[in-house]
């Protein structure tokens, strides 16, 4: 090997240069020497590495009982070694072109080697090896003709090929089941068909969208009814019932508090009930409760209604200026107020009174509230009245005698009657249908109670008279209670008596049917009157255009 290498080194050097043989050769020689030296170094290094690895294997096999080197490490080292060997061989192949082994002449040195180098005969050991293999292969068929030998050999080859294929298949299947990658790297493992993959993709999209963005979890507002029983961690957190959930709609409570002032009279009652259930906030108890304050009945000592929630005493924060109150009253809608008052009445006195009665009562309440202030003591009341009052009182007494409500004391009735008369005046004009109904009911009573009076005439005349209480020229005022309130305010401020005097003259008989319900109204009236309303009185006076009662007008214009 070394001789050949030296020859090789020398030959190209000799070939390539004709002149300057020494220096050139040295250069070329150096160049090749470097290659050679590098090759040698690398070959030696590789040899050492392999020997080291073998030693490691032996050590591991020796020291660790039953242990074996980790297959991964072994493979890694083997790959390193084989790569190194491959590189060396490649490099040598590159340089091989420059090396040609030809002895130029036969001399004593190479006479013995040359024939060996030139011969194509196998080396003896190689020859022996081949012979034995041939014998093994052709052991049973050497006596057959050559084509049959070939066929037999082909058959053997096919069998071996099929066995290899089977083995490959088994290995691949095992790889699949154990999740190992195939040798080729392509994952031929379990695949999903398109439908499954699409379904999984869709599910994944749903889940990710739901968790990250809340898609698919939003419940429309109308379906957001709170569960009947909140889970424990939310029970004490969220206020229960109304006013609790804030779903883009302002809490239920405030929805009832419309800017419509008078409307809140009844709704305020409802709302105050609602507020009473949950913790009332100061805000919600603001504006609407002003109306509430304006009409709650004064707690009347002997009234059966004292226990109801109508008895809201005005709180300091609910003070309302006259202007505001007037505006609120002006904005009232009839139905709401009617309804409210009806509710009030129902709460207070579930009597069999007709609708008119309810209406009247509410009005009477207001009136009574106003007048009650001054009517605390029956004696004092009478002193405040004008001269007409004496007549009215007489008439009242008549009615009292005629109609005693159960459970009502005489004084109450007296007071109630006085107020009711005024209220009755207002009531009928508001709703003529109800009025006629009341008339019908009260007429009979009138007949019984007030002998000697022209009831029919009175009843007919009452109609315009009752209208007096409202704006003249409007037989059916759409806001009876509103008018009531206005007038009551006017009454309440100063001259309750004057108003009452007027009305009593006209309406006493009318109100028998509704007397039973009017006690609370008186208290209401009083309350209204408390909120000093001079201006309203003036306005009320303006509304009274009925020329039939100039006297009253003058009285109102005090």
């Amino acid at each position: 090997m070394d001789a050949a290498a030296a020859h090789a080194a020398g030959a190209p050097a000799g070939e390539q240069q004709a002149a300057a043989p020494r220096a050139e050769r040295l250069n070329q020689g150096v160049h090749h020497q470097l290659n050679l030296e590098g090759m040698r170094a690398r070959a030696v290094g590789l040899y050492k590495a392999i020997s080291r690895i073998i030693d490691d294997f032996n050590n591991i096999a020796r020291t660790t009982p039953g242990g074996s080197p980790k297959w991964q490490d072994v493979l890694g080292q083997f790959s390193m070694v084989s790569m190194e060997l491959f590189n060396i061989v490649e490099d040598i192949k590159k340089v091989n072109k420059g090396f040609v082994v030809y002895p130029r002449n036969v001399n004593a040195e190479n006479a013995l080697i040359l024939p060996v180098m030139l011969s194509s005969k196998l080396l003896p050991e190689m020859e022996i090896e081949e012979t034995t293999k041939r014998e093994q292969l052709l052991s049973g068929i050497t006596n057959l003709p050559v084509p049959s030998q070939m066929e037999k050999l082909k058959a053997r080859i096919d069998m071996i090929a099929s066995a290899c294929e089977t083995a490959e298949r088994v290995i691949a299947e095992c790889r699949k089941t154990y999740g190992l990658g195939t040798r080729q790297g392509a994952n031929l493992g379990p695949t999903l068909d398109k439908a499954q993959a699409a379904k999984i993709q869709e599910q994944e999209g749903l889940l990710r969208a739901a968790v990250n963005y809340g898609e698919g979890l939003r419940v429309p507002g109308d379906q957001r009814q709170p569960h009947s029983s909140l889970p424990s961690h939310l029970m004490e957190v969220l206020p229960s019932g109304d006013g609790a959930h804030n779903f883009g709609v302002y809490p239920k409570n405030t929805s009832t508090f419309t800017p419509n002032g008078v409307n809140t009279q009844g709704n305020a009652m409802q709302a105050s009930g609602g507020l009473g259930r949950s913790a009332p906030s100061p805000g919600t108890a603001g504006t609407p409760n002003f109306e509430n304050v304006s009409t709650p009945p004064m707690p009347y000592a002997n009234s059966p209604r004292s226990g109801t929630n109508m008895m809201n005493t005005p709180s300091p924060q609910q003070h309302l200026t006259p202007q505001q109150q007037r505006q609120k009253l002006m904005q009232a809608s009839q139905q709401q107020q009617l309804h409210a008052q009806q509710q009030q009445q129902q709460q207070l006195r579930p009597s069999a009174a007709s609708l008119l009665a309810q209406n009247t009562v509410s009005q009477l309440q207001d009136l009574q509230g106003q007048s009650q202030q001054k009517l605390q003591v029956p004696g004092q009341q009478q002193m405040q009245y004008s001269q007409a009052q004496a007549l009215s009182q007489f008439q009242n007494r008549q009615m009292q005698a005629a109609r005693m409500q159960p459970g009502m004391s005489q004084s109450q009735l007296n007071q109630g009657n006085q107020l009711r008369s005024h209220l009755g005046q207002f009531t009928g004009a508001a709703n003529s249908a109800m009025f006629t109904a009341a008339q019908a009911s009260s007429n009979s009573q009138m007949m019984a109670n007030i002998p000697g009076t022209m009831q029919s005439l009175q009843s007919q005349s009452i109609l315009p008279q009752m209208q007096f209480g409202l704006t003249g020229g409007h037989p059916q005022r759409s806001h009876p209670t509103q008018m009531m309130n206005d007038q009551m305010f006017g009454m309440g401020s100063t001259n309750t008596s004057s108003m009452m005097g007027m009305q009593q003259q006209q309406q006493q008989q009318q109100q028998q049917g509704v007397y039973g319900n009017m006690q609370g109204g008186g208290q209401n009236l009083q309350q209204q009157g408390m909120v000093g309303l001079q201006n309203q009185q003036n306005q009320l006076q303006n509304q009274m255009q009925n020329p039939n009662f100039p006297q009253q007008r003058q009285q109102n214009q005090q």
């Binding site: 493992g189 994944e204 990710r208 739901a210 968790v211 709170p226 889970p231």
Partner: protein, 217 residues
């Protein structure tokens, strides 16, 4: 700030994932049952609505509330190269009346979800929190007892790790490295990207769940 990745796993393999996480983390698992309420601010609080999430931990005997605000994610070329999502997060414990407070200042309930599952919290280069939960929706408002899974067959796996502005790269690489360990069972990606399931997860799960081949100590 936090680094977060999400992935999905089929419900049948959740047990195997639990075994794997148990082995990787070394800490016992924690039960997770969180009622998450997502509130959106009303118009009175500005033109752009803001979102805040209230998490009520129902796994403890006394429920505890947490406020969580999820900010915007990091954008840009640098963010594209990182395989985790880096986003700002603000979290705070709160008292019981946090819900009432937010309602009071004008927030409205946008949606709610109940997450049930388990979680592992451990330190591995960063403070990891790995949660495996099934997202449930409630047919009636706040009816946590009647919650139904949004996707019964698939559960969500989320890995989060808190980070700061100066170390989010390291945290991101830690998270990515950890995700490699979970590769046999699930693919993880940024929350907006869909990953699909690992097809060979069944085999991996089988090997995780099997007790054969292990040397008894």
């Amino acid at each position: 700030m936090e680094c977060v990745v999400q992935g999905i796993i089929e419900t049948q393999h959740v047990e195997a994932l639990e075994v794997l996480l148990q082995g990787l983390s070394g800490v016992p698992k924690e039960r997770v049952r969180v009622h998450e309420l997502c509130l959106k601010s009303g118009p009175n609080l500005g033109v752009v609505p803001s979102e805040v999430r209230l998490l009520c931990d129902l796994a403890q005997p006394t429920p505890s509330w947490t406020i969580r605000h999820v900010g915007g994610a990091m954008r840009g070329a640098g963010a594209e190269q990182i395989s985790v999502l880096v986003r700002t997060i603000v979290e705070s414990k709160a008292s019981n009346n946090v819900l009432r407070y937010f309602y009071g200042i004008g927030y409205k309930l946008d949606h709610e979800v109940l997450k049930v599952g388990f979680a592992f919290r451990f330190q591995r280069g960063a403070q990891f929190t790995v949660t495996v939960t099934s997202a449930n929706k409630m047919p009636k408002l706040h009816a946590t007892d009647e919650a139904v899974a949004v996707t019964p067959g698939i559960q969500l796996v989320e890995i989060t790790a808190p980070a700061a502005a100066n170390n989010y790269n390291d945290v991101a690489s830690s998270v990515t490295a950890f995700c490699e360990y979970l590769a046999p069972l699930l693919h993880l990606s940024k929350p907006g990207n869909s990953t699909g399931i690992v097809l060979t997860a069944g085999a991996a799960a089988a090997s995780l769940m099997s007790s054969g081949g292990a040397k008894t100590l």
